[in-house]
Structures are given as C-alpha cells and as structure tokens.
Symmetry: D2
Subunit: 199 residues, 4 copies
C-alpha cells in the first residue's frame, strides 16, 4: 500500500482523529525535516522501554533504574489506608495535579459498558482483587472515583458488588453542584444530591 | 421613529436577543394576522393584571381570586421549617418541577456582582430580613441555593453575613460531581468537594 | 389559562424561540416597569398601522403620509430595467445595506419546499406575474437572488419556468468561492462554479 | 527527560494538537501492543522513503519505481495548457477527488502572511518561476486557486505581480455564492461578486 495511505490509516486509530486530520498529520511529517521524524519514530518505538506498569497501582510510570512500583505506590509518605480506584491514567494525572489527595491509587484500565455480559473483560478485575487481598489489613477505605455517566455508574455498581466481601469501607465521590452549575438548568439527580449533601 | 425600528429596539432589550433576531421578530409579526398580534399585545398589556408578587416569597404567581400569597407560600402542606433562598423565578420553577423539595422559598430577585459596593441594590434584602424576622420561630433551616459561579458565590457570602444573627442554621447546596462530570477534566474545587463529601 | 403560560405560548411561536426562552421573556416582562410593557404592547398593536405592503415590490415599508409604493419602488433614480426577486424582507434589507444594487425588487414572501405539489401557495406568484406583465416593456433583466440550499434551488427552477414566456433575460446570482471558503474543504458544486467562472 | 513527556512534546507539534490530546496519544500508544507501535514507528521513519516531491508540480507522491514526476505531472492525458497553482497538497487532493479539472498543478507549499516583508520565504517562488519559464510555450492559462481569506488574497496579489511578465493569461477562481450561502447573512464582497458574475 501507498506509504501515505498506510501511515494515514495508523493515525486514524488515534483517539479523536478522523480521516482528514490523519492525512494532515502525514503531510505535516512529509514537510518536516528528517531529524524530527527520526526523533518521533524513535520516541514511539521506545515509548515502552523505560515505562513500566506499576505492579500494584497499574499506573504507567517512567523509570531508568528499574523497579516495579510507581513513585506514588512506593512513596512511604502516601497514606496506605486510602485506595482510590480510577478508570484511567489521565484521571489519576488530573487528580495528582490538584495536590489534594494523599492516598494510593489503582488504575482500572477501563470502564464497563451498560448491559455488558462480560464486565471483567473491560477492567483489571483480577489484579484489583489481588491487590486488595494483599493489602486488606492496611486499607481502611476504598474510594471509587468514576465519571458521572451511565458507563461510570455501571462500573461503580459492579465494583461495589465484587468488593463487598472485603469488609472495607467503600465510598464514592460526592455528588452535587459542580463549578459552573446553574440552578435554572440543573438536572434532578444533581439537585437531589446537592440538597441531600447540603452543609 | 419608524415603527419597525421602534419595535425592533424594544425587542432588543429582551434577554439574549440581538439586533438581527429583533428584526426577525418584527417581520414575523408583520406577516402574522391581526388576531395574533392583538392577542400578543393584550397578553403583554395584561401580563401583570392577574399576576401578583407573593408578599412572603416574592415569587410571581397567577391568581384570579386575589390573595397575597403564592400557592406554595399558602400551602399548609409545605414544610415551614425550611426556607430555600433562590436567585430568580426560573430557578424556583426548575426545582419545583423535580418535586423533591417540600419547604418554602424566597426569591432574591437577583445576585450580587463581585466587588459591588451596594450589594443590597441587587437583591430583596429588606424583604428577606422582614420575612425571616416574622417567621424566625418556625424556620429551622435556611438553604442558600445559588448557582456555582463567582456572582453566586459572592451572593452566598453576603447572605451568610446578613443572616448570621438570626441563630438559624444556614446551609448551602452540596458541591461535588454533577451529571456529566468527567474526572479527567474536573476542576480542583469540584474534585475537592466531591472527595470531602464522599459517602 | 394562566396568563404567564398564555404569553409564554405566544412567544414560543416567534422564530427561533423555544419553551425556555419564551418563559424567560415572560419573567423579563414581569420584572419590567409598566411603562415598558405598555410601550411594547402598543408598538405590537400598531406595528401594522403605518406599515404598508408595497403594491409593486411587496416590501413592507413605513409611511405616515400613506402611498402604496415603498421608497425604493417609487424612487425615480432606481433603475427600472433590473428587477431582483428575493425571498424575504431581511434579504432585501441586507442587500440594500451594502449599497451596491440600484435596481428594483420583488419580495416573494417565501420559498418553495422541494417536492411541494402546490408551489404557488408558498410564494406571491400571481402578484409577481402581474407586476412583470405590467412592467414588461421596461424590465430588461430579472435577477433571481435565492439562497444556495435545496429550497432555494427549487424556487429558482420554478421561477425560471413561470417566467420563461416573458422574453426577458433571466439571470441568477453567480456561484463560486465566497468569503471564508477554504479550498481544502470546498464542495464539488462550489469548486466547479468557481472554476467555470474564473476570470 | 521522561519518555512520556518527550513523546508528548513531539505530538504537540502536530497540526491542531494541544497538550491534553498529545498526552492522550501517548497513553493510547502505551496501551497498544508492540506490533502497532512498531508499525507506526516504521511507517513514520519510512514516510519519506518511497515518497518523492514531484520536480515539476512539487506534489508529494508515492512511487516504488523511482521517477521524478508525480502521476499527474507525467500523465500525457492531462492538459498541459492549464496550470493550477494551489497552496498545499490537501487542496490538490480535494480538487482531484472531484474529478472536474484535467490540467496540471503546482503546489506552492504555503501562503504569504499579510504585511510579510519576505514573501518568497513562504512559497516555492524560484521553483514556480523555473517551471513556468520551462513550460511557457505550452501553458496558455495559469489558474490561481487560493482560499478566500486575507492570507489567500495576499498570496494572489503577489503571484499576479511576479507572473505578469510571462505574457500568459492569469485567472483566479470565480467568487460568488457558495453552497449554503444565505442571502440574509451574506457579506458585501460575496454578494458583489455574485451579482457581477450573474448568468
């Protein structure tokens, strides 16, 4: 196949990239000097080289010295008694940037579509259960931090069910008015939560 | 002045209506039959005729039999111990449509711009204080239901201050994740509230 | 019916106005003083009083001295040999604002939906034919100025057919690249016209 | 530097890609299997290998058998007497997809910012002049096919000036109403062109 079309097809698989933008990426690369394309090619080839998947939190992390734990997972100053379960690395990153949570994390690697018959294929279920089993004496609270949409709610429910036997407190992030919410347009679920959680 | 331009200018004062839309409204009316324009003209002229401003809640309400209290304010089944303060009629209406709140209301009639030097010009302060003074034996909780934006926050702060001497519990609607919030993009304030209000 | 709901329903008929905005208009009027609502009510009631429909061009025009012709139709300096047919008053107004056309107009009052079986119900067909019959010795060119969309194209075709027997030159506005057109995204029709009309 | 951040920075250079999307691309690649990242890395490294820049038209083209001319430039059935000058490969591609132009092309490689003092740095001026010099006996018309925006207009003017001595007809794509233009909102330039180009 034509190398322009081939590369274009590979770019089309990128999240949020359509046919047209994929083509623009290719023409962009054709116009760039070889130094840039070589750098990019190398960076992609080696992206996994110094990146590991933390064996506890399943966060991707960069390391040159090896090791199986991410900086957060191995940080003795992080509170072992709280475990926050997030869907993906970028959720974790956004939360870390805020600097307001001092516990540990577990990255599920996905969320469960509504009505799915094989929920465990979408998330790291075995790895999660293994981690909690191992740390169950330390963990006092598991915070389920899912986005507020049908798939997120479905994942919440599933997690509650598979975690209920651990005898650990399970919490979910509070619902209510978020930045920018206008009362005139707020939906019933949001208002009800906001009213119940009034303080 | 040309009557097309005159009416156009009056429509331009409507909320969210620009020059072009105002003109379209006028041409729309020119093409409509006289029955419709007569109806509209009468309805506007008489809009206040059977509409009263509730002397307790300051909600506009429709009545043919007179009376000074809105149906909600005069409803003996509504809980007198809770008073929710909202900015405007459409907020109240949205909340009523949900059917989840059974207390009373007070409509402020506006919100206070940040850095305003004359906050009481933007809201019905005297009327609010008079109502609370009169009902202070019944009211056990005042819920401040403001939108989550700088002007709303500013109004919240001002209300807390002017209400603090009543020795009545003041609460605000809870903050947290609202419908549609994606953790990857949530802001710090929202996440912090959601984390603190986890359950 | 409740007068708030009644006025709200009348506003919902306005072009581009939904349920929510209609309600906002009503609350806006309830908060305005009686001077403004009286003015508005009068302006609507009298919108047609000094407005006439030009008996030649069918443009609405304002007049205090009576007369059956719009300023443009009765202006001896406008070129009688060109007649531009437009769909609606706001098209005419936009073109006049540019100050580049010195001929006369006819306002069709609408456009013909594709596949319509009663095209003459949507436009002032009889009035148009009558005008051209009357002025056929003066008119040297009829310019069909329709928007470029299926309904506009359909109207064009219909007009060409009913006007072909007059032995007057019929032209349509040229097609090509318009302000903002990017070649990368231009459609085939536009490019073909632009190529054919290159100069 | 951390390899996640490094790759992220390289992606940020892509047209239309911001910080956040660049990060998503990286996490996307981290989750993909090595087969895909290897393919992508190779495709980027080799993007220029079988791609050549046509020495006449300066279009990028794919070839396994070598050769210095693109399929269009070397196609004996394409009309040598017309040369269309476009800004970039994707413009050419969009036009070819329509199948309505049978002449040759020249890809400028850019357009000239308004007020630029070094216009020839933004386009392949020397290469263009060389091509026209070489083909001046065959070329009967040069079509300047620029987008309709200030930068495109500026490029048009500059090209007209540097090409005026060749004694070849220079044309530009016609202006007028393009698909979707509504007369009510059309701008003066577009309407004037449409009126002048009426037919």
């Amino acid at each position: 196949m034509n190398s322009i079309d081939k590369l274009s097809e590979l770019f089309e698989k990128f999240p949020g990239v359509g046919k047209r933008q994929a083509k623009r990426f290719v023409y962009f690369l054709l116009r760039k000097n070889s130094g840039y394309t070589k750098d990019l090619s190398d960076a992609i080839l080696n992206i996994k080289k110094n990146i590991r998947l933390c064996e506890e939190s399943f966060q991707f992390f960069y390391t040159e010295r090896g090791g199986n734990l991410s900086p957060i997972a191995s940080n003795p100053n992080r509170d072992d008694s709280k475990l926050m379960i997030v869907e993906k690395d970028s959720d974790l990153e956004n939360i870390e940037k805020m600097g307001v949570y001092d516990g540990k994390y577990f990255v599920l690697g996905g969320s469960i579509p509504v009505l799915s018959k094989t929920p465990n294929e979408f998330i790291r279920e075995t790895e999660l259960l293994r981690l909690i089993e191992k740390k169950k004496d330390k963990i006092k609270e598991i915070v389920l931090a899912m986005s507020v949409n049908p798939q997120g709610e479905n994942t919440l429910e599933y997690l509650r069910k598979i975690l209920e036997n651990f005898n650990i407190k399970i919490s979910i992030l509070g619902r209510g008015l978020s930045t920018g919410t206008e009362l005139e347009y707020s939906d019933k679920d949001t208002f009800m939560s906001a009213f119940e959680n009034r303080r």
